[in-house]
């Protein structure tokens, strides 16, 4: 996980126009590239401008009419070296402290694993592929989750992975135990990512369903997709509710336990198998501690 990269010994910068002579296929469309602004602005020093901003000084490369040993070639760099090179400029917006702490960096997934500087699929963020396809190439299990009947609409283009995740690393969560959060991007910087779209669940509500606020939405829902409607963790709702509301807890007001179902709730009656038929405000209510209205 080295942070520095030893550039080739030659330190003579020749400018991007010198590269154009032998690499016209790159230069001819480089004005569409986000990195072109470093050339247009003419504010950066040669080490952070145009081709040499990434590939290093090209003096020796030009002098020897090409070659791969006298210039920085990204396909020959280790993952750690690639990260270090990109962060020379991008650390001002993507702090190294978060990048290096991210699960991606831990798994040697680095900038060029997702970004293609010269052959990006679209103008935004220079992604090598459409974002979901890019993520699926490693997260195959997630692809299958988004192909399930109940799912967030990522494959349909209505959402992207980065709506909920920060691939560059994020801070600890304020929900759950603050760990194992798989690089989730907090909504409004500090709340569960689900609440960015499901704003009606955000509250504040006087009667919070404590498990929602304490443990998070994933206590009851799968995040990506499910074979169960509404992305629930169980196919019918009473099994989901009873796994917590079994009288076995150690918190709350009901004789120091989680609510268990009362005597009147005959589980063999279809009415009581459908808990949310009555407990309609199950995410939290302003008027009823039992979430009945």
């Amino acid at each position: 996980m080295a942070t520095g990269y030893a550039a080739p010994a030659n330190t003579q910068y020749v400018g991007s126009l010198a590269c154009k002579a032998c690499h016209p296929e790159v230069w001819s469309t480089f004005f569409r590239n986000a990195h072109f602004k470093s050339v247009a602005m003419k504010k950066e020093d040669p080490a952070h401008t145009g081709c040499e901003g990434c590939h290093g000084p090209g003096g020796a490369h030009v002098a020897s009419y090409g070659g791969r040993k006298n210039i920085r070639v990204f396909s020959q760099l280790t993952p750690a070296e690639t990260t270090a090179v990109c962060l020379e400029c991008h650390a001002k917006d993507l702090p190294r402290a978060n990048i290096y702490a991210s699960e991606h960096t831990q798994a040697d997934v680095v900038c060029t694993s997702c970004h293609s500087i010269h052959h990006s699929s679209g103008p935004r963020f220079l992604l090598a592929k459409q974002q979901a396809e890019l993520c699926y190439q490693c997260h195959e299990g997630v692809r299958s989750q988004f192909a399930m009947p109940a799912r967030h609409r990522v494959d349909e283009g209505a959402m992207t992975c980065s709506d909920c995740h920060n691939p560059h690393g994020s801070f600890a969560a304020t929900w759950g135990m603050g760990t194992n959060q798989t690089m989730q991007q907090a909504a409004f910087d500090v709340e569960q990512p689900c609440l960015r779209c499901h704003t009606d669940k955000r509250g504040p509500l006087v009667f919070e369903h404590a498990s929602v606020r304490v443990e998070g939405c994933t206590a009851c829902h799968f995040a990506h997709g499910s074979t169960n409607t509404k992305l629930l963790r169980r196919p019918v709702v009473f099994t989901l509710c009873l796994e917590c509301h079994n009288g076995a807890g150690t918190f709350g007001r009901e004789t120091a336990s989680v609510y268990s179902t009362p005597f009147s709730h005959n589980l063999l009656d279809p009415r009581y198998q459908r808990c949310t038929l009555c407990h309609v405000r199950i995410h939290g209510s302003n008027s009823d501690p039992m979430f009945l209205r």
């Binding site: 190294r96 402290a97 831990q106 195959e140 192909a147 600890a172 074979t227 063999l268 949310t276």
Partner: protein, 676 residues
Amino acid sequence: MRSRRLKKLKLTILFIPAWLWAQQTVAPTTDAPVGPVRGQDAGDYNIVQSWELGYRFATIGGDQDLYRSDVNYGDGIRLLGSSLTVNSRDGHGRWLDSLSLTTQGLGGDPYQSVNLRAEKNGLYEYDMTWRDNAYFNPGLAIAGGQHLMNTNYKWQDHDLTLLPQNWFRIHMGYSRVAQDGPALSTQQVFGSQGPVFPLFSNISEQFNEYRLGGDVRARGFKLTILHRWQYFREDSSQYQSGPVPGLLNPSPSAATLTSYQQSQPYRGQTPAWFGNLYYERKWVAVDARFNYAGGRGSFLQNEVAMGLDRFGAAQNQQIAVAGTGDRPITSGDLNITLFPASRFNLLTEMSVSDVRMNGSNSFTQLNYNTLSLATLNFQFLGIRLLTGSATAHYRFSKKLNVFAGFQYSDRQIRSIEDTTSPGFPFAGIAAEQVDLLRAGTAGFNWMAAKNLQVHGEAEIGRDNNPFTPVSLRNEHGIRANVRYRLKSLSLTGAYQENYNNNSIAITAYSSHARTYSANATWSPTSRVSVDASYSKLHLDTIGGISFFAATGFATSFYPNQQSIYISNIHAANLDVRFAATKRLDLFAGYNITRDAGDGRSAIAVQPNPVTQLLYSVQTFPLTYQSPFARISWRLQENLRFNVGYQYYGYGEDFGLPGYRQGYRAHTGYTSLLWSF
């Protein structure tokens, strides 16, 4: 040499969309290249654009409501997709240097979006996203189909950065989320064990956020300050006119609702401050953050119901609720990464957050018949969370690096709540729980051979007092993946296992999830690409439950029962793209998700009704599959004709209590994709 490279460039550009085609065929096809690869020059600008206009069709058999919930494509003319990019060739345009506009599904698709980005080097960057999703849910599993939603979700985000390349930048933004449309709901009225009635519901929710801030960079520091103004409003209402019988009434069942009206306006606002400080040096990187969000909501509820209760007695009831709720959230984070040597780095993360939920709430239920009142007020919920972690990375060589870390969390939850009647003081029953989590992780990255990368990691954690019976307590996880990448071939394989055992005094819960997956992508030439993947997701859980049930006239308590759920999902997809000629591209694929459940083929008869009920919900075998095909024919350099077909088939092998669903849908489209 130059011409050979240009040819290579064209092939590359033709080749790239093959990757992009690995998606549902009913999605837009604007990634197919039309028009000149280099775009067209207009003055100092270069323009690349394509537009896809077409007609969708859908024929559905079976449960149409479920089709609308899962897929929802319909008939009609659509601007299926479009893409426009404008770039100044020298980076010195007058008003803008770059503009990018993409759209999807405009004109009636259930998933419509527009993305716009415009920038002028050194002056501004503007990003806009607009999305509109048609949402439909029949709510079968949660309320037997009595909760139905047919709403539209609309999102828009605007972000403007001034002086984006400067040491001082200004950020402005606006976001909006809105949901509206009809829904069906239910309400229990005339007593806590009273009947439940179906109601019509008119959903109306809006969230607006305004942002203003800036950042300053100097001497290795960067300071960001941002203020948010957030407003939420809900004006949903429920009503029913004319007599309706109750649903699944308790016995006796004379209950009738003759009139019902409920309105519950809610207004919320959350002013929030965000501060961020970076510090970067060669040997250290620091990222510190502070957040404060002072959420506050004010609400009213007025409910009037008239009818007969389950005993046939006339009821005339009004419920009025008013109050406020406050939820300040404060959090702080400090990440420090040290780089003491080229082979070694040390990462530390520390976070603290405090969430306090409190409010003054008066709940008054007035029964006009008995003139009785009931009041309930106040609840407090506070969560304080401290987390920290330290991870060390060491690189043995260019081919091998390892990491190991430790993390802890310390969470305190407090609650005060009570019910009281008018004239009686609020006592408040307090509860407190402290929860400690300790976890360790370790892993490695190994370049086993050229282009062959292996990653493995393991984690083990212990939580001494989890909040719910399904929370993590004694958990461990293993993750491993292997990646082999060549220019034309990519092979990946992954395995992940998570195990949790949460045994507590009365009950026990354990969950064991395993995911196996493999993917192969092969592009032997620019004319052919194949993408295939398979995943197996296996989940076993068992949880202790207890409940009451009445068999005959006797209601009995059933403690120490078990809720078992077994899901055994096989998911596969295959996408093939073949450029048959220079003008004709063929694309075909197949997706299938099959939950084989626990292996049974039907629900067998069990000895008693309670066992039968639990047995019937232990597994939910089903099949969801979708073969598709598309032909794209290049009529001219700037014009393509596309035709696509996709089948959606859903079937449940056997039903859960009360329902069994399935549908068959034939969908497709024809379109013209052109640039001009």
